[in-house]
């Protein structure tokens, strides 16, 4: 049977002899390091962007819409003109765009689980966190792109950051670190929620009060007391303040340390929860 089909269509049928020799010819290389395994997964994420470029729509179109919408919608009302508002809102809208995009990590993971790729990775003898870290590393590329698009739009409509190029770069770096921490929250949701739909719904519900109940768009001093109290404890407010300070060239306060501490805390708490759930997902 096999000999016959091999003779008839050599290029398309599996070749039993070749499979047998492929089994014996291989020598198992030493295990890859944690870093190298994570980078391989990051490479996978980039390949996916190459094959499915549509998935960049969220990081390109979304920031453009957000920036234009909020700048022109609120600009006049809040500061009298777009020109005076842009310095305030540009860093904020960048934070908002990027943090909004982080949410998609959860549905990416959910899709991997549903399609069966995830179990393949979990069955490999590699450092267990590497598949997830690789996923977040790939996402970091998307976040960077989102930040770049937002910056470009802001520059086009008149943003001239006082902090200069380096200041903007430093702000983006802080933002990416925080986004990496927040990514673990979404990965955890991706593991415990059963469908991509519920993942998106829950992520949105969590993200909305954190993003909008912050100092991204308006100065909290105009808000009622209870809302100010929330805005003050909201880690995104601290992050926005720190990013703003870098980009606007003003002195960076304790918010930088707080943002980094929050990022570390998110990794510690949700990273542990995720890895605990990763051992035995439903």
């Amino acid at each position: 049977m096999s000999a016959q089909s091999t003779a008839e269509e050599a290029p398309r049928a599996p070749q039993v002899d070749a499979i047998a020799s492929a089994l014996t010819s291989v020598e198992r290389p030493p295990r890859p390091s944690a870093l190298s395994a994570s980078m391989s997964f990051g490479w996978r994420a980039l390949l996916k962007i190459k094959h499915v470029p549509e998935q960049l729509a969220d990081v390109t179109l979304f920031p453009v819409i957000m920036t234009l919408l909020f700048t022109y919608l609120f600009g006049g009302a809040i500061s009298g003109s777009v020109e005076s508002y842009i310095a305030y809102i540009a860093p904020g809208v960048m934070v908002q765009s990027v943090l909004f995009i982080t949410m998609y990590s959860a549905s990416t993971l959910r899709t991997d689980i549903d399609r069966g790729v995830f179990d393949r990775f979990r069955s490999l003898p590699i450092w267990r966190a590497s598949a997830l870290i690789g996923m977040l590393l790939g996402d970091a590329v998307r976040y960077t792109l989102g930040a770049a698009v937002t910056a470009a739009v802001c520059l086009a409509i008149g943003w001239r950051p006082e902090g200069g190029f380096l200041g903007v770069l430093a702000g983006v770096a802080v933002l990416l670190i925080f986004a990496f921490g927040l990514g673990w929250v979404w990965l955890f949701f991706g593991l415990i929620l059963r469908t991509p739909g519920s993942v998106t719904a829950v992520s949105t519900i969590v993200l909305m009060p954190v993003l909008f109940g912050s100092n991204i768009f308006v100065d909290p001093s105009t808000m009622p007391g209870w809302l100010q109290a929330w805005v003050d404890v909201n880690p995104v407010s601290g992050l926005v303040t720190a990013v703003r300070a870098f980009m606007n060239g003003t002195p960076v306060g304790p918010e930088l340390g707080m943002s980094l501490a929050w990022s570390a805390g998110l990794v510690a708490v949700f990273g542990s929860l995720t890895m605990w759930k990763y051992r035995d997902p439903r």
Binding site: R115, D119, P125
Partner: protein
């Protein structure tokens, strides 16, 4: 070091109220194919996923190639590979990219990873499709790339979870050839299937699983022998004759005949074959036309029915499989 590929004691996994796997004891020797046979939802996949360290048992213990699946999970992962409904490849990537990725994850460096990927693509007849996204593969090609991904390093034990479900007969034969090649090389294969003839064809020993429990174990012949020495299959030409034929057969042979979902068929287990010729003559005398009259070993379908009291598969699936 142990001679056993798989050894479990009271292995259990509970999901809510369902005991998906309900206290399984296995002792499976190295080498050859061990079949895990049961209908959909019997607990085959859950059991395999515990053995492959993808989920943790709720009770009991399991050793794979002498390593505990919970305490030495990482060592187990280094020795086994898994292919199945839940361990697949990335459909967005090409065949070559998928194999390169797995090769890199096993520690092959850039050039070596590409060479290994190309070697496997060639062997599995996928060289032409190497640069196509896996989502554009046919069902048979898809299964081949899944299996190839499990052989990037040679595993000592390969779990194949329903490797031929949904494949056409030709693609299924190709997968069977691949499995036989693996066994010839010395790989132990643990195969789950809901297809009785697949277990019959490939497996050296078979565990029959139903509702989370192992209900029988043995070689295909042993399982068949446990049902009776032989089975008489009769198919009448016209379905209206079935009841008359049944009455004659019961009278001549003194055993009860069962009807199946085939409206023309009658089946009975026979301990004694001596009256068979007489029964055939009696049917002829009564002018009942026969499409089939055969005495043989029971099929695994009948074994399953005898063991569980219900059929292994729905009639529609039977028809699909026969195609």
């Amino acid at each position: 070091m142990t001679d056993l590929a798989i050894e479990t004691a009271g292995l259990t996994k509970v999901y809510g109220d369902t005991r998906a796997v309900d206290g399984i004891d296995l002792a499976i020797a190295r080498g050859g194919v061990h079949g895990f046979l049961g209908p959909n939802g019997a607990g085959k996949t859950t059991a395999i996923r515990m053995l492959a360290t993808l989920i943790r048992p709720d009770a009991g213990s399991a050793k794979v190639l002498g390593r505990d699946v919970v305490r030495e999970a990482d060592a187990v992962r280094g020795l086994v590979s898994l292919t199945g409904q839940f361990a697949s490849v990335d459909e967005d990537l090409t065949g070559r990219e998928n194999l390169r990725l797995i090769a890199k994850l096993y520690g092959f460096r850039g050039g070596a990873a590409t060479r290994r990927a190309d070697e496997l693509l060639e062997a599995f007849g996928l060289a032409d499709a190497a640069d196509r996204q896996v989502k554009k593969y046919s069902g048979g090609m898809r299964r081949r790339i899944d299996i190839a991904a499990s052989l990037v390093v040679s595993p000592e034990l390969l779990f194949l979870d329903e490797p031929t479900t949904g494949l056409d007969p030709r693609a299924r034969n190709e997968v069977w050839d691949i499995i036989r090649a693996l066994v010839a090389h010395g790989t132990t294969v643990m195969l789950t299937t809901q297809y009785l003839d697949e277990a019959d064809q490939l497996a050296d020993r078979i565990s029959v699983i139903d509702r989370g429990r192992i209900i029988a174990e043995g070689t295909s012949s042993e399982l068949k022998a446990s049902v009776g020495s032989g089975t008489l299959h009769v198919r009448v030409m016209h379905r209206d004759d079935r009841d008359a034929a049944r009455a004659i057969l019961v009278r001549e042979l003194g055993v009860d005949f069962e009807t199946t979902h085939d409206p023309q068929a009658l089946v009975a287990g026979l301990e004694d074959r001596s009256g068979v010729t007489r029964a055939l003559t009696a049917l002829e005398d009564a002018d009942i036309g026969l499409a089939q009259f055969s005495l043989g070993q029971p099929t695994l379908d009948e074994v399953f029915l005898a063991l569980t009291g219900h059929a292994a598969e729905e009639p529609t699936q039977d028809a699909e499989e026969a195609a």
